[in-house]
């Protein structure tokens, strides 16, 4: 896993973006950009070459699932690894995300070790 890669963190709660960023920095990532919603995240993707997306699900203007579908539907972004980090842990949610092409799924609350393990699996595959 290349720790120099650029990571986009998407969550409507600033608290969670801060926690995810702290965890990523603990792992060793240094290039992190953020967005507060799927819609603003699409704008960030237009302006930045991003190597990994970490996104929440429940967001007001565009959900993480819709954001994932949009990313997978665009030729320029379809292959970017996309990890959902969400409190939505019911089977139906996981299934929908897998069907939409999610790379991995992390349920909140999470530990730094869990995030590291799940990200490593994405890049090992």
């Amino acid at each position: 896993m290349d720790l120099n890669m650029k990571v986009l963190v998407v969550d409507d709660f600033a608290t969670m973006r801060r926690i995810v960023k702290n965890v990523l920095k603990q792992i060793g990532f240094t290039h992190i950009v953020e967005a507060d919603d799927g819609t603003t995240a699409l704008g960030v993707l237009k302006e930045n070459r991003v190597d990994l997306i970490i996104s929440d699900w429940n967001m007001p203007k565009m959900t993480g699932l819709d954001f994932l579908k949009t990313v997978r539907g665009d030729e320029s972004t379809k292959d970017i690894p996309f990890v959902m980090v969400t409190a939505e842990a019911q089977k139906d949610n996981v299934l929908q995300a897998v069907q939409a092409g999610v790379s991995n799924y992390i349920v909140k609350p999470f530990t730094a070790d869990t995030v590291k393990e799940k990200l490593a699996k994405v890049f090992d595959n």
């Binding site: 600033a14 608290t15 409190a87 019911q90 349920v107 909140k108 609350p109």
Partner: protein, 153 residues
Amino acid sequence: MDVKLINPFIDATLNVLETMAYTKAEAGKPYLKNDRMARGDLTGVIGLIGEMSGTISVSFTEKSILAVVSNMFGEEMKEMNDDIKDAVGEIANMISGQARQKLEELGRSMKAAIPTVIVGKNHTISHMTRHPVVAIPFGTDNGDFTIEVCLEE
């Protein structure tokens, strides 16, 4: 209300606080709440809908939430600000998610709305008033908080 429906909220609360905030909380005895006064200074409220519907809330004293968020961020938070308010919403969100996962296993699937946070001493919390509100007090080394569950079966 069936105790089986309350336990997922207790377990979720203990797990969220321990995992995200390195905080060991202790659940007190649940009781039926007969008034609308919040037990804390900030409250996150989430509406739930599905095979059951209702609301849950998590209400923190200022002292307890400052300690919890300090642990979540890894730096000391000394005063109330938007980050603290935001954190209450996210904590409520995580408790709701974990509890709903367990409730799905019991055959009660629900979706949740985005949390609302109410701030200020002596505020009130309005649940679905036709149904009993079960309050569960929790203690931590740095103060108390209260979960309230109001579900229509």
